[in-house]
Amino acid sequence: MPVETWLTFILGFMILGSIVALEIRDILSSIVAIGVVGLGVSIAFLFLQAPDLAIVQFLFEIFALIILVRAFVKKDYHIETPARVNGFMVAISLLVLIAIFVSSISVFKLLPPFGQPLFETASHYVNYGTEETGAVNLVASIILDYRAYDTLGEVTVLFTAILGTITILRIRKGKDAGRKGA
């Protein structure tokens, strides 16, 4: 079977998983459904021959699952009141989605065929990457040599994120302690 068939199958599976994650009542089942979506992305990366991304996506999915399970699985989190469905709003949303889809069909026709790269820079990386950087793994040569500036930005984002998390949660802890003392 061609890759596109597999990708379509995985995409359908992921859409199904996200619908289940949204609609199911039990929060643990919802978390598992989110995991299905993430692992689907990982498998799709494998089919697209991107093992680096597949590894990272797989690991981050497990990581996120552990965080979610650890954060949400408690007795008091399990109770969830069923949301009331407004039929009028659902109809409007569906109409808007269909309108966007129909109007974007002409854009889909402009897309390059599957497997044909749009950027010519990529072929330079593939042809000269190992020669110019000495790295056999082309992904490493791109993210740490050609586009190392991007990676610096990512490191900064991660640093800011952990800084913000620790700062906010420490403030909260201090407040709680103050309330206990008062």
């Binding site: 093992p51 680096d52 597949a54 590894i55 990272v56 690991l59 981050f60 497990i62 990581f63 552990i66 965080i67 650890r70 954060a71 408690k74 008091d76 190992t130 950087t133 000495g134 790295a135 056999v136 793994n137 992904v139 490493a140 040569s141 993210i143 740490l144 040599d145 190392a148 500036y149 990676t151 610096l152 490191v155 900064t156 991660l158 640093f159 994120a161 952990i162 998390t165 620790i166 949660l169 909260r172 802890k173 709680d176």
Partner: protein, 150 residues
Amino acid sequence: MNNSKQGMTLIVKTVTRVTVWLIVLYGIYLILHGHLTPGGGFGGGVILALAFLNIMLAYGREATQKWLNLKFLEDIEAVSATLFLFMGLLGIALGGRFLINFLPKGSPHALLSAGNIPILNILIGVKVAMSLFLVVWVLAGLHEEKGGQS
């Protein structure tokens, strides 16, 4: 540490004590071979963070806190981020451009090749491992505080 009531059962603790080093080894392998095989700093760093997380889940928060210096982890995280920037500035000094690959390239397929890509991989791996573990640590602490209050 094994006798404490915290954490999971004795079986989990014993298995964790053996397997966590294999996980750490795999993470280090992925980071060091980042320029040769799929993986690299981010993937290996997440594996290292998961190994720490494994210890935390198996042995409980307080037992982990006894032998894990969190201030030290925060310092390592900040230092590796700064060193990444420093490598970029070193590129200006030695190569003329920011973050340029100024070390000798070596022969392809060798472990010591590709200039400063392995160094940057190691820095990213350490940084990602420490920050992800710290995020989970802080969030888990918040959760336990909440549980204690209610």
